[in-house]
């Protein structure tokens, strides 16, 4: 039995409802691919998103007004955990939980009415155009330029590390509309159609041989001025508000729990001599450590959620949770690689899950990204120092 926090009856009932739906609703072929750590096609994702959408749960963080279930932070936490445990494909945040809250807070009525329903109906796949070759952790130094001509924005430059730009038909991006002042002051938040002439998407092959990120080039790309969200040159403020929406959900606890379960199963398999890795006390201790780490992460999420409700908090909750959550995830991916051992070269199926050793090896390499993207560990520590500690 894994260590479980003591949930109340109300929480347990909600979890049971969610679990029973998800058990039946995740298409079997997609669940098998997810549990086997295979790469999913766009169609796999969209097929699943439409199932959730039909249930009214795709926008699970959204208010009722816009078609969300109106859940509180605890329910959101439970639902997200159950999504992972059910072997559902990841529901990416870009449109649903990054752009949507920005539009709800800063978008014009026309922008809200045009885009929000299309996000929930899965007509649009949004990608996020933030990072550039010269603007990673130092995002405010971005240089992709936008000049205004009449009621048109004309964009030139390049974005990079754009996740699933090759799936996306829309992009929200940060562009420089004024280069004269402080770096943060001349940035605007713009929505664009990926089919606009002048946009070129070039996939980047990562260490695991897969392409999930892209370079996106802009050559005289003409976008209506009405596609700007918030005032001109206020894009930095708009984007920062966006970051705070994901405050408590950055740890991906459910995914870590799911991978921990796999780790335990792998470690328990008998080896040729009849022994198992779990019988190796130094390995068993590492698994126990990860259990403690996950439990501490989950308890911290819930405690900080409760503190935020009381209006208490240090302002750097997301950074605390991301630092610990990604460290735990990487520890698990490393232990999974350890658990397959020399078989790491083999593409042969392992357990009933069908996760191949080579896929677990690739996952470990791929997951180094966790402490780099969305603000690297070092940036998170800078944020904690500044925001929470006043240094």
């Amino acid at each position: 039995m894994p260590l479980q926090l003591p949930w109340g009856a109300q929480d347990a009932a909600f979890r049971a409802e969610v679990r029973s739906f998800l058990q039946a609703a995740v298409p079997a072929d997609i669940r098998a691919k997810v549990l086997a750590h295979e790469v999913l096609e766009k169609d796999d994702y969209v097929r699943w998103y439409k199932v959730l959408s039909a249930q009214g749960w795709l926008g699970w963080t959204w208010p009722k007004e816009w078609g969300g279930p109106g859940w509180d932070a605890r329910q959101i936490h439970i639902f997200e955990e159950e999504l992972w445990l059910a072997g559902a494909p990841e529901v990416y945040a870009f449109g649903l939980r990054m752009l949507a809250p920005v539009l709800m807070a800063h978008g014009s009525e026309a922008q809200k009415r045009e885009h929000l329903p299309r996000i929930l109906s899965c007509e649009d796949w949004w990608c996020q155009g933030y990072s550039e070759p010269g603007a990673g952790s130092d995002l405010a130094s971005l240089r992709t330029s936008a000049r205004i001509e009449g009621d048109t924005i004309i964009i030139n430059g390049q974005k990079t590390w754009t996740t699933y730009a090759h799936f996306a038909n829309r992009m929200f991006c940060l562009v420089r509309t004024d280069a004269s002042g402080k770096p943060q002051e001349g940035i605007s938040f713009v929505l664009l159609d990926m089919a606009t002439p002048g946009i070129t998407v070039r996939p980047i092959e990562l260490v695991d041989g897969e392409c999930e990120v892209n370079e996106v080039f802009f050559d005289e790309v003409r976008v209506p001025l009405a596609n700007m969200v918030g005032p001109m040159n206020a894009g930095w403020t708009v984007a920062k508000a966006l970051l705070s929406h994901e405050r408590f959900n950055v740890g991906k606890i459910g995914r870590s729990k799911r991978e921990l379960d796999l780790l335990k199963r792998l470690a328990a398999r008998p080896r040729a001599d009849g022994s198992s890795l779990l019988g190796d006390s130094s390995f068993a201790r590492q698994i126990a450590q990860v259990e403690v780490d996950i439990l501490a992460l989950e308890a911290t999420v819930l405690r900080l959620v409760a503190a935020a409700k009381r209006g208490q908090g240090n302002g750097a909750e997301a950074s605390v949770l991301k630092l610990h959550g990604t460290a735990v995830a990487q520890r698990i991916s490393g232990l999974l690689a350890d658990a397959v051992g020399e078989d790491i070269n083999s593409a042969e199926a392992l357990a009933q899950d069908g996760a191949s050793p080579v896929a677990l090896g690739m996952q470990h390499l791929n997951w180094r990204k966790l402490t780099i993207y969305g603000g690297s560990d070092e940036v998170q520590r800078n944020i904690i120092a500044k925001v929470a500690l006043g240094l």
Partner: protein
């Protein structure tokens, strides 16, 4: 469990936080071997802190141990050394109607009752082996030795675990009993400890609190409270030490500026904060499950996880706080060294990370 505080809990937290600095000024901290401050204990008792979790039938408020969270936090944060956790353990061991009078006396400060469970070489949760109760011509007699009994030298009563007729049993022993040698000493963190040597100590006819399975269940309850209390006091102490260190790096100047302006130190303090937050969270979980009857079967793993986290966080924060203070952090004039000492003592109390992680690992197989 709920991490949200209700109004009553918030009011207690506010009042404890307000009173604690005046109750436990750093200057009043005794040197090693200083006498127990009985009047301070009475002040705590008079504030109702002990009665808080005692049963209403014994004049208490009947609240769960988790209600005492702000008190544990304050005791840790202000390095207060008082028999608070042992009193809560003792109250758990005295559960039931048989001892209501004594429990009431605890809540009024007329009695200090502490558990005397540990023996030489015994790990957390170990059952008694060196102490036994035997029948003699004149009645029951207690033999054997208990180690490092917290406030064993100040208590009016001890609750002693022993073997009797081949079973685990627990006994109420007045501290003025004949045939007991008390060797009192200061612990690593100046806590008042005592080794108790029982040499045919005569026991009253009604001294037996419980025997067999009932005794083991009570001991498990007391152990649960002990672990949760150590986690909660530790979390309070490390949060205070982190804050202290943060203040220091903001004021200490080297190379012409505050050392807190250096990124290497900022990142260290950020990592320390993460470890404080994790320890606080699992301490809250530990307190919530410690005396929850519904969690009796499933609480141990959670309590052990909490203790592992507390020990690991305490080690990191204790060591880094001294490191960031520099040489002054090693002196007894600097509060940081006192916290580091307390954190190490709490780290080892009731089993450290090595012990509990090993047990969690064993449970996986």
């Amino acid at each position: 469990m709920q991490f949200e505080l209700n109004e009553e809990q918030q009011a207690l937290a506010d009042s404890v936080a307000k009173q604690a600095p005046a109750l436990f000024p750093f200057q009043a901290r005794g040197r090693r071997g200083a006498a127990f401050d009985a009047s301070k204990w009475q002040e705590i008792v008079d504030l109702g802190w002990v009665a808080l979790t005692l049963p209403e039938t014994a004049g208490g408020m009947g609240l769960p141990v988790a209600a005492a969270a702000p008190i544990f936090e304050a005791l840790g944060a202000h390095l207060a050394l008082l028999p608070y956790a042992p009193s809560l353990q003792a109250a758990a061991l005295l559960a039931g109607d048989q001892h209501l009078g004594l429990v009431q006396a605890m809540g009024e400060g007329k009695a200090i009752v502490v558990p005397a469970l540990g023996e030489a070489g015994s790990d957390f949760g170990a059952l008694p082996a060196a102490c036994r109760v035997e029948k003699s011509a004149t009645g029951l007699q207690l033999h054997g030795e208990k180690r490092a009994v917290a406030w064993g030298g100040q208590a009016t009563h001890w609750i002693v675990s022993a073997l009797h007729a081949g079973e685990v049993s627990i006994w109420l022993v007045p501290a003025d009993s004949q045939g007991v040698q008390i060797k009192a000493y200061a612990g690593l963190d100046d806590k008042h400890l005592a080794d108790l040597r029982f040499t045919g100590t005569a026991l009253a006819a009604d001294a037996c609190i419980a025997q067999g399975a009932a005794a083991q269940a009570l001991l498990a309850d007391a152990d649960a409270i002990a672990l949760a209390a150590a986690c909660a006091e530790g979390a309070g102490a490390m949060a205070a030490l982190h804050a202290l260190t943060l203040d220091y790096v903001k004021t200490r100047k080297q190379f012409g500026k505050a050392i807190g302006s250096f990124q290497a130190l900022q990142h260290r303090l950020a990592d320390m904060l993460v470890k404080v937050e994790l320890a606080k969270s699992l301490a809250a979980v530990a307190l919530a499950v410690a005396d929850d009857a519904a969690m009796r079967e499933s609480r141990l793993g959670l309590l052990q996880a909490a203790k592992v986290q507390m020990c690991q966080s305490a080690r990191f924060i204790g060591e880094q706080a001294v490191q960031l203070h520099g040489g002054i952090g090693l002196t007894n004039e600097c509060q940081a060294s006192h916290y580091a000492r307390r954190l190490l003592a709490l780290d080892k109390l009731h089993g450290d990370a090595n012990l509990h992680l090993g047990r969690l690992a064993d449970a996986l197989v």
